[in-house]
């Protein structure tokens, strides 16, 4: 056995041992053919071509795997992003509702100072706590099944208002 054939055999054996499982059978097939090739240099060229083919096949398998992983990662990130956006929309909507309630209270006080709304505590309770809280809870219940993240955002603000109320009552 000449040096080129020895080199060819060694190269293909290394390729068989390094090839990923999907390419190993093919690498073994190329090595198996080596014994039937006449001419040492022909065998070496066969091995070089085979090694390139195995590398390309392995690289393509890796690329496919990476693409699949990347696609999976993107889907996961998109889902997380969508959920975060939903929660954000819920929080923002609830805050706007509470803000509107305060604004209505303030405007009514400015337009009808004779009513004495600014000094009546029950109006604050009703406009800033009871009505918004009832709307927030109703909205969260309605949206829970179809738009869970938005409902969660709304409920968060509802809970914060509730907590604020509890702290306020405890302090008094």
């Amino acid at each position: 056995m000449g040096a080129p054939r020895r080199l060819a055999e060694r190269l293909l054996r290394v390729m068989v041992s390094l090839a990923p499982s999907g390419s190993r059978d093919w690498a073994q097939a190329m090595l198996g053919e080596l014994d039937f090739i006449r001419g040492d240099w022909a065998a070496l060229f066969w091995a070089l071509g085979s090694a390139a083919a195995i590398c390309r096949h392995a690289a393509s398998a890796w690329r496919t795997l990476l693409k699949q992983r990347k696609a999976h990662e993107e889907v996961r990130m998109n889902n997380t992003g969508k959920k975060a956006l939903g929660v954000g929309i819920g929080v923002l909507s609830a805050l706007m509702l509470v803000g509107c309630a305060f604004a209505i209270l303030r405007i009514t006080d400015l337009m009808f100072p004779g009513l004495g709304i600014a000094h009546a505590e029950w109006t604050h309770w009703l406009a800033a706590i009871v009505v918004p809280e009832a709307i927030l809870i109703a909205a969260a219940v309605v949206l829970w099944r179809k738009k869970g993240p938005v409902a969660a955002g709304i409920l968060t603000i509802g809970l914060m208002i509730g907590l604020h109320l509890a702290v306020h009552l405890a302090m008094r």
Binding site: D25, G32, E33, D35, F36, W46, G49, S50, A53, R56
Partner: protein, 102 residues
């Protein structure tokens, strides 16, 4: 079926169509088609991945490593016949068009 039909792939399909029931070896295919191993094997891998080729190992001679053999599956045979027929019809059409233009 998404199999890139390069001229080299068509050569390989043609080689398999010659006595399609016989199993063929990689080196024999290389000699028949004139393709180097670096071109031939990626084609064989692709065709096999599309389930157009079946493979098996054969212990040929004592003291020698087993050989990997290939032949068309029924689907592969159908596919190759269809493709090669449409290719040759296309070629005939191009030739006829060339003659008309000349």
């Amino acid at each position: 079926m998404k199999l890139r039909l390069s001229p080299q792939t068509l050569l390989v399909l043609e080689a398999f169509l010659d006595q399609p029931e016989d199993w063929k070896y990689g080196y024999d295919l290389s000699r028949i088609t004139g393709l180097k191993s670096g071109t031939l094997y990626p084609i064989l891998m692709r065709v096999a991945e599309h389930k157009l080729l079946e493979t098996r190992w054969e212990q040929s001679e004592p003291g020698k490593p087993p050989r990997h053999m290939y032949r068309f599956t029924a689907e592969g045979l159908r596919f190759a016949r269809t493709q090669l027929t449409s290719q040759s019809v296309g070629k005939l059409g191009e030739e006829a068009l060339g003659r008309m233009e000349a």
